[in-house]
Symmetry: C2
Subunit: 424 residues, 2 copies
C-alpha cells in the first residue's frame, strides 16, 4: 500500500544493521513493556475499537448531517489536526459539499473567534467539542462562548441534538457538563494520546458528519496492521522509514521536510509534524519537523533546499493516483508555446515536476530524499497512512530511547500562562 | 511602528559591534554598488512608484469589483504569496466580503485545478494572471485552461474586461497575448524581483479588487523608508534584526521559526519564508526558515521547541491591537471552572499565553527569542512590515556576502523538468 524508497538518501549505514535493535523496539511495543506503555491503546485499535460506539457515530452523524450547514469542530492539537488532515486529504480544498467545516477552540485569537461568530450568524450549525478533561483553555473558552451563542439561537432543547461532546468516558468537566445538558457523548480512550486519536471518535465523528466513509478508514488501519506485523526490515516499510530517520540524523541532518505535491495534503503534513515533533522532541533530541507543498514552495523554499545550508533531508509523501485529472488542451494560436503539453494529463506533468525536482535536489543539491508513495487520497489510504506513521513514529523514538507517548514540555507554557491569568 | 526586542535571545556578540560592516552593507545597498544591484527597484519604490499606473489600478479594480464573486489570482512564488499574505492579514480568514479570492496557477495538482474549475462554474469570475515572462509552467498551464473556460462562458469580448494581465511592460509571451486579446495590463518592473513585488501592481491590483486600501499600504512603505534611512544599529530595528540573525546562526542556530499568535498571519510567515529562504539560501549558507502559529502549534511543535534538539531560534511576530476583540462571558453554573476569566478580553488571554510561552521557551527551554511587534494588522502596517523585512533581508544577506536578489538554484529543477516534459 505504501511504497518506501530510500535509494535517494545517501545512507551511510545499512538499514538492516538496525534489525536487532528494531526487533527489541518492536517487542517492547507489542508486549507493552516499553516507555509510555500506558498509551498503547492505538496498537490493537484497528480490531479492538468499540464497535457499538462506532455504530452510534454513524447514527448520530446521519441525524445531524442535514442540520450542519457549518460543522464547528472545537478542539486543539490531536483534537484538531487529525480531522482537518483527513477532511482536506479526502475531500480536497474546494469540495462539492453542503457541509462546511470550521475548526475553532484551537487558538486564543480574538479576531479569529469573532470573525467565525459573525460568519455563522445566519447559518445552521452543529458543534462537536473535543476535549479529554474539558479544561484545555483554548477549547474551554471557545466552547463556553459557542454554547451561549447556540443556546440563544436554538434554545437548550435543540442544543441537545446540535452539540456533541467527545471526551473522557466517565469524568472531567466536559463529561459532567455534557451529562447535565443532555448532550450525546463519545469517548476519548484513556490509553490513546491526542496525536494518535484520529482513528477514534475524536476524528471519526467529524469525518462521518462530513460524509466521509469511516468504515473504509478503519479497514485501512487493519490492512496496515497486517502489513506491519513482522518487524523484518526487509519488508516492513514503516520500520525502514523509522530507521532511515535515525541514520540521516546521525549524518547531521537535524531537520526533516515532509514534502507533498498536492495542496490538499498540506494539513497531513501538519498532523505529521505533531506526531513526530511531539513524540520525538524531548531530552534534547529529535529531528525538527517542517514541511512544504511542491511545486508551490519550490518558488519559495526551493532555493534554500537546492543551494542553502545542508541541514535537512526531505521525505516525499507522494500520491500515485490523483482524485481528479484532466488533459491539457490544444490552442490554435499557441502564443504561450504550451502546445508541447497538448493532451498530456495534468497529473503526468505534476509527476515529471516531482521527478525533475528529486533529481535536482538529490544530484545537484546533495540533499537526501526518502520517498513514501500512497496509492491515492481516499479513506482507506488515509487510515493505512495513519497507522503506518504511528508505527514508524513509535519505533523511531524507541531507537532513540525516547518515550514516544508523553509530552512533558507542553505543560511548561501552560503553567506560566495559568500564573499570568491568575488561575488558582 | 515595529518594535524590536533582542533581550530574550542570549546573544553572545554585541549587536553594535556589527556597525561598521552594516554601514558598508547599507552603503552598498543605497549606492547600488552591491551584488544583485540590477534588482534594487524596490529600495526607492515607496516614492518612485508609477503614480499613473497606481490610479489605473484603482480604476480597474473599481470597474471589475462587482463582477468578481470570485477573483482568481493566477501566479506562483512572489506572484502569489504577497497578495495572499496581505489579504489574509488585513481581512482575516472569515471576512465579510462579497469577493472570494482563489489562488491558482501555483501548483501542478490536477485535483486542485479540477476542483476549482467545478467550484467556479456558476460563479461570476474575474481573472488576474501574473507572470513576468508568461512562460512559468504552472501559471501558463492554468492560464490557458482558465482562458478557454472563461471565453466559453463569457465570450471573447467580455473577457477583455474580466481578464487582466500583470506582466513585463514590453515583451514576453503573456504581454504579446494580452495585447492581441485586448486585456488591460499592468507592469512587473524589470528591477524588482518576485519576492519584493507585493508593493507593485503584482500585489496591489488583487488587493484593490478585494477592497483593500492600497494607498495606505504605500504610505506604510514610505514611513518605513523614513524610519530605516539611518543605518545606525541603535535606532534601525530592521538592521538590528538582520544582525541578530547572523549572531544567532554564529551560535549554531541553523533554523529560524517565525511565530505568530494570529491564524490570519500564517500566510505572512509563508511570504517571509520565501523572502528570506530564497534570498539567503545559497552558497551552502543561510538559515532554514520555518514557521508556526501559536497557541495552535504549541500543541504540536511546542514539545520539540521546549525540549527537543536545540537547533532553532524563534522570531515572534506579534500584534499589539487585534482587529476584533470581545470579553469572556460569565456563566452561572461555571461547570467548566472558567469564571476566573470573566470579563477579561480575549486578546488579553492571547497576550498572557504569549508571555507565558516566551518565558517557557526562553528560560526553561533555553531557546533564543527575537521579538518584532506590529501595532495592528491593517494596510499601513502591512506596507511598513514588507519594507521593513525587505531592508532586513538585504542587509542580513550582504552580511553573509550573499547576493540577496538572485535565485540560481530555482532553475535546476526546471531544467530537469523541461527535459522530462520533452520541451525543446
Amino acid at each position: 500500500m505504501i511504497q518506501f524508497d530510500s535509494t535517494h538518501a545517501f545512507l551511510k549505514e545499512d538499514i538492516l544493521s538496525y534489525q536487532d535493535k528494531v526487533n527489541q523496539c518492536h517487542e517492547a511495543l507489542m508486549s507493552k513493556t516499553g516507555a509510555g506503555n500506558d498509551y498503547l491503546g492505538w496498537v490493537e485499535w484497528p480490531y479492538q475499537y468499540d464497535k457499538e460506539e462506532f455504530e452510534r457515530i454513524l447514527k448520530v452523524a446521519e441525524n445531524v448531517k442535514d442540520k450542519a450547514e457549518v460543522l464547528l469542530v472545537c478542539g486543539i492539537g490531536g483534537s484538531y489536526l487529525g480531522a482537518r488532515a483527513a477532511i482536506e486529504m479526502i475531500q480536497g480544498l474546494y469540495p462539492k459539499n453542503k457541509t462546511e467545516v470550521i475548526f475553532i477552540g484551537n487558538t486564543f485569537s480574538s479576531t479569529y473567534f469573532k470573525q467565525v461568530e459573525d460568519y455563522i450568524k445566519d447559518k445552521s450549525v452543529v458543534l462537536n467539542v473535543i476535549s479529554k478533561s474539558g479544561t484545555t483553555t483554548e477549547t474551554a473558552m471557545a466552547f463556553r462562548m459557542l454554547k451561549q451563542i447556540m443556546e440563544k439561537k436554538y434554545g437548550k432543547e435543540e442544543c441537545k441534538v446540535r452539540i456533541i461532546a467527545t471526551t473522557d468516558k466517565a469524568r472531567g468537566t466536559l463529561k459532567d457538563l455534557a451529562t447535565k445538558e443532555g448532550y450525546e457523548t463519545f469517548v476519548i480512550p484513556d490509553d490513546i494520546g491526542g496525536r494518535y486519536s484520529v482513528i477514534t471518535a475524536v476524528g471519526l465523528l467529524p469525518l462521518a458528519i462530513m460524509g466521509i466513509d469511516i468504515n473504509s478508514i478503519m479497514q485501512g488501519t487493519q490492512k496496515a496492521y497486517e502489513d506491519l506485523k513482522d518487524s523484518s526490515l526487509t519488508t516492513n516499510a514503516a520500520y525502514q522509514y523509522a530507521v532511515c530517520r535515525r541514520i540521516l540524523q546521525n549524518q547531521g541532518k537535524d531537520a526533516e521536510m515532509l514534502v507533498t505535491y498536492e495542496p490538499q495534503m498540506s494539513m497531513v503534513a501538519e498532523w505529521w509534524k505533531q506526531l513526530f515533533g511531539e513524540s520525538e522532541g524531548k531530552d534534547g533530541l529529535g529531528v525538527l519537523p517542517c514541511s512544504a507543498t511542491f511545486s508551490t514552495d519550490l518558488h519559495s523554499l526551493g532555493q534554500f533546499i537546492q543551494e542553502g545550508k545542508k541541514v535537512l533531508f526531505e521525505t516525499l509523501l507522494l500520491v500515485e493516483h490523483p482524485t481528479m485529472d484532466g488533459l491539457f488542451p490544444h490552442d490554435d494560436d499557441n502564443m504561450d508555446n504550451m502546445n508541447y503539453l497538448e493532451n498530456k494529463s495534468l497529473d503526468w506533468v505534476n509527476k515529471m515536476a516531482c521527478k525533475g525536482t528529486l533529481e535536482a535536489h538529490e544530484i545537484t543539491g546533495n540533499v537526501p530524499n526518502l520517498i513514501l508513495t500512497l496509492p491515492d487520497m481516499k479513506e482507506f489510504t488515509f487510515g493505512y497512512m495513519c497507522y503506518f506513521f504511528f508505527r514508524a513514529c513509535a519505533i523511531t523514538c524507541y531507537l532513540l530511547d525516547i518515550n514516544p507517548f508523553n509530552q512533558p514540555g507542553v505543560e511548561v507554557y501552560k503553567k506560566n500562562m495559568f500564573r499570568l491569568l491568575g488561575k488558582d
